[in-house]
């Protein structure tokens, strides 16, 4: 049987009724999927408290809109197939009108588009990753040690007179590098509204960095199952003005030595 070369694309194929119908569906569905997909997800994410989180939200928007035409294409073809004549019953319908097995043009187009999408996603991701990495290298950053233990976090402030706390305090608009470790098993240090996360591993220090840009109280949650009370390994982070932060640091009792002295962050 003929392995016909691109019979779909013969003549003025774009004027065919079924093609036109699918094209309309495709445009409408792209708009719908892009809009609903983006808005619902962004709504759930909530208000960002750092540039890194703003990046996350922007990435969700970009990727959702970029994926929308592809999803809409699959949806349009599916809906078109379902809207056609459907056969029920115990016996098959007559054979389809075309025995077409191939369309090199469609395949080539599909592969090229998916490769371009892939490249696009990669480039966008690399740009955002690069921005996050720069905070790690910022010379003006303050350094804070985070120690995870089954099942509580505690924080040390190396620049201070040995202040240690269970609730993290940060000055707004100040880059901060976290040096995170664990005393026992693996934990994961996640400042939810700031969109940063790094695992706490026993015996090593790992780093992440962020610049909070909003004053308020936000959540820190452990994001790696660490045993019995993992669900309760959570506390708060208070972002306040520079003055309030200094006042808070000074008001803490001199509660003992810091566990580790700040070092150059690893890129």
């Amino acid at each position: 049987m003929p392995d016909t070369d691109t019979p779909y694309f013969t003549g003025q194929w774009w004027k065919r009724t079924d093609v036109k119908r699918h094209a309309v569906l495709w445009v409408l569905l792209t708009a719908f999927i892009g809009y609903v997909g983006t808005e619902v997800q962004v709504w759930a994410l909530g208000a960002p408290a750092s540039k890194a989180m703003e990046n996350v939200i922007m990435l969700m928007r970009i990727f959702t809109w970029a994926a929308a035409p592809i999803a809409a294409f699959a949806a349009a073809i599916s809906i078109g197939a379902l809207m056609g004549k459907r056969h029920y019953g115990d016996f098959p319908p007559p054979e389809a009108d075309h025995a077409i097995k191939n369309s090199p043009r469609a395949i080539a187009l599909w592969i090229v588009v998916s490769a371009l999408m892939c490249l696009f996603a990669l480039v966008v991701g690399m740009i955002a990753l690069q921005k996050d990495d720069q905070t790690l290298l910022d010379a003006k950053a303050i350094h804070i040690n985070v120690v995870g233990q089954q099942w509580a976090w505690n924080y040390d402030y190396p620049g201070s007179a040995g202040v240690r706390s269970d609730v993290l305090h940060l000055p707004v608009d100040q880059p901060v590098v976290f040096h995170v470790t664990s005393k026992d098993v693996k934990h994961s240090f996640w400042i939810v509204q700031m969109g940063i996360k790094i695992d706490a591993n026993p015996g090593v220090f790992t780093q992440t960095a962020v610049t909070p840009n909003k004053i308020g109280v936000f959540d820190i949650r452990c994001a790696e199952l660490c045993g019995l009370l993992h669900a309760y390994m959570q506390n708060k982070v208070v972002v306040e003005s520079r003055d309030d932060y200094e006042k808070w640091l000074a008001s803490q009792p001199d509660t003992g030595k810091t566990t580790w002295v700040a070092d150059k962050a690893v890129a």
Partner: protein, 622 residues
């Protein structure tokens, strides 16, 4: 090659010990051996020294008795008879081989070490259903806990064990759900063979799974597991004795997978019918082979990771203990080197099964068979290069985040090819609406959501938010359950007439299909939502703001369970008293539909000769 046996009067006189071995002797011998080893170990193993870093005596006792169970069970089922004979310079007699093949055995052959691939296929179907049942019950417990406001009525120890056990049972169930029943029953007939290349290994691969399941269940009663299904060390080193059950489960299951992989690959490569060139081999076969070929290198690594974990616990080694020179990152790497290919082991056969069904239910050829093959090959090849995207946030190698981001995003290209094949087959087809047909649409819907959310997760900065949250859980349920399970259920409905000789009840399978699909989407959209709001994974209690999303997910889960129970009921009642199925109810063109129901012991009277591929639907251009 198969000679007809000389007729003998009365029953087979030349069948020896294998006549007496069955699942009951296996359980009995396994239990007895476990108890004996346990008592001996308890009495004679030395106590731990006071100053050791890890107390290991109890783990030694537990592991030894579980190994005792394993050896006893495999001896009791008859797996060692043939190897023993071979060592003695003999082999099984012809009569014994026919006995093992289940000739004239009736229902009893399902309870023995039967080598007929059709029997093994049915056995796999049953064990898959049992595993899904157990995993499903655990899922309902999880959702019952999380569905109450702020969760928390199941106490944390039990909950963590339930979550981890649910995960590992479902992973194993989804790995075997297509290649087990259909890879064994249908595949040899589909390629025009009389059985598989190694029939005894086939029986072995099945009974290994039964042997494996018991230690996992046993482990639940000696403390359970405190890790998720990923069994991360060092937490696994700290876990109660039940962790040994997990370790044994995986080690034995890995053996089963490797055996099955060797068997299936050899069968397909060497035993296709005359004239069945690779161009004429159905796409389902490619899917099954790709899946087991991926498992062959991946599962030994899983096996190794668990052996090291068991050694740390029972022998006090320090592979994963940072305080003594080990590293938790070693475990993560070993685990995910298996863990990522494994999800494609789960997914590819399900998608390939739907690609096999698509032409039948659109009455037109598969769109671009070559692209389908390339897509499967591309996914399989790339899947071994992406594993560290599970470790973006582990701090292991920040410099490697970008390269792994590249390889992970590249996988979307061959995956897209599979989409193209399905969409292309739908285009201008004549839709014959059945449950398998609608499953194609369900797959497209679910896999699109699963795939796109995978793109978000593959992006390192976005993953800094999403990793370890319920978003990840929702993503992999969409791909493994929304795409994988949908394909497996469609395969069940499609091949049920051939495997059982009955048609699966139509009304009930429709009701089940819609309940499962609608319930599934409700449940996991709710889960995406709470993930975005900031709920971590594997938590038994949560902040009040997650109440609504969790309630929605739990309601969806109850709907899924209802649908699956209805499917179970349909399978049982149709099998017992359903409408008899014609030889080829779907008027399909592949070879399994050319054999009568019930399928004869040796499948074909004469082996077929293939002259064209199986996608010759549609009106030919004249």
């Amino acid at each position: 090659m198969m000679e007809r046996p000389a007729p003998t009067a009365g029953s087979n006189p030349k069948v020896g010990i294998i006549r007496h071995l069955n699942v009951f002797t296996a359980f009995a011998l396994g239990a007895i051996t476990a108890i004996i080893v346990w008592r001996l170990a308890l009495a004679y193993l030395p106590a731990d020294a006071e100053t050791v870093p890890l107390f290991t005596r109890e783990d030694k006792i537990t592991l030894l008795s579980m190994i005792g169970w394993f050896v006893g069970f495999m001896t009791g089922i008859g797996a060692l008879v043939a190897p023993f004979r071979w060592v003695m310079g003999k082999d099984l007699s012809h009569d014994e081989n026919m006995f093992l093949a289940g000739k004239d055995m009736g229902v009893k052959r399902y309870f023995r070490y039967t080598t007929d691939h059709k029997v093994v296929g049915i056995q796999y179907l049953i064990i898959t259903m049992v595993l899904f049942g157990m995993g499903g019950i655990l899922a309902m417990l999880i959702r019952a806990n999380l569905g109450t406001p702020e969760g928390g009525w199941i106490h944390p120890q039990a909950y963590n064990s339930i979550v981890g056990t649910h995960g590992i049972i479902m992973i194993v169930a989804t790995i075997i759900m297509v290649t087990g029943p259909f890879g064994n029953y249908i595949m040899p007939i589909m390629i025009g063979a009389r059985d598989m290349a190694f029939p005894r290994l086939n029986a072995l691969s099945f009974w290994l799974i039964v042997a494996a399941a018991i230690p996992l269940i046993w482990g639940q009663f000696i403390g359970g597991i405190s890790t998720g299904w990923t069994a991360y060390n060092p937490l696994a080193g700290q876990a109660p004795l039940g962790m040994n059950g997990y370790i044994m489960f995986i080690c034995i299951f890995a053996l089963s997978t490797m055996v099955a992989g060797a068997n299936i690959t050899t069968t397909v490569v060497r035993m296709r019918a005359k004239g069945m060139t690779w161009n004429r081999t159905p796409i389902f076969i490619y899917g099954v082979v790709a899946s087991v070929a991926l498992a062959l290198p991946a599962f030994p690594v899983f096996f190794l990771s668990q052996v090291l974990s068991g050694m740390d616990r029972a022998l006090g080694t320090s592979f994963y203990d940072t305080k003594r020179g080990g590293s938790g990152w070693l475990y993560e790497n070993l685990f995910w080197i298996m863990g990522h290919p494994e999800v494609y082991v789960i997914l590819i056969p399900a998608v390939a099964a739907l690609m096999e069904m698509a032409p039948v239910f659109t009455r037109r050829p598969l769109f671009s068979f070559n692209v389908a093959v390339m897509g499967i090959a591309g996914i399989s090849g790339l899947s071994v290069l992406v594993w560290a995207h599970h470790m973006y946030m582990s701090g292991w190698a920040p410099l490697l985040n970008a390269p792994f981001m590249l390889t992970t995003e590249l996988i979307s290209i061959p995956t897209g090819m599979l989409f193209l094949v399905l969409i292309g087959t739908l285009w201008r087809g004549r839709l014959w609406v059945t449950v398998p047909t609608m499953s194609i649409f369900a797959l497209l819907w679910n896999f699109m959501i699963g795939g796109v959310t995978g793109i978000y997760l593959s992006d390192v900065p976005a993953d800094a938010f999403l990793h370890g949250s319920m978003y990840v859980t929702a993503h992999f349920h969409y791909t493994l359950m929304g795409a994988g399970l949908t394909g497996a259920i469609a395969a069940l409905v499609y091949w049920f007439p051939k495997m059982t000789g009955k048609m699966l009840d139509k009304k009930l399978s429709w009701i089940s299909f819609w309940l499962v699909q609608v319930g599934f989407n409700v449940a996991f959209i709710g889960m995406f939502f709470v993930g975005l709001q900031g709920q971590p994974r594997r938590v038994e209690a949560y902040a009040a703001l997650f109440n609504r999303g969790n309630l929605i997910t739990s309601i969806g889960a109850a709907v899924i369970m209802t649908g699956m129970l209805i499917l179970l009921s349909a399978v049982i009642s149709s099998w017992r008293s359903g409408v008899n199925a014609p030889m080829n109810p779907w008027h399909a063109k592949s070879l399994e539909w050319t054999v009568p129901n019930p399928v004869p012991l040796e499948n074909f009277e004469t082996l077929p000769v293939v002259t064209e591929d199986v996608y010759g639907y549609g009106k030919k251009e004249s």
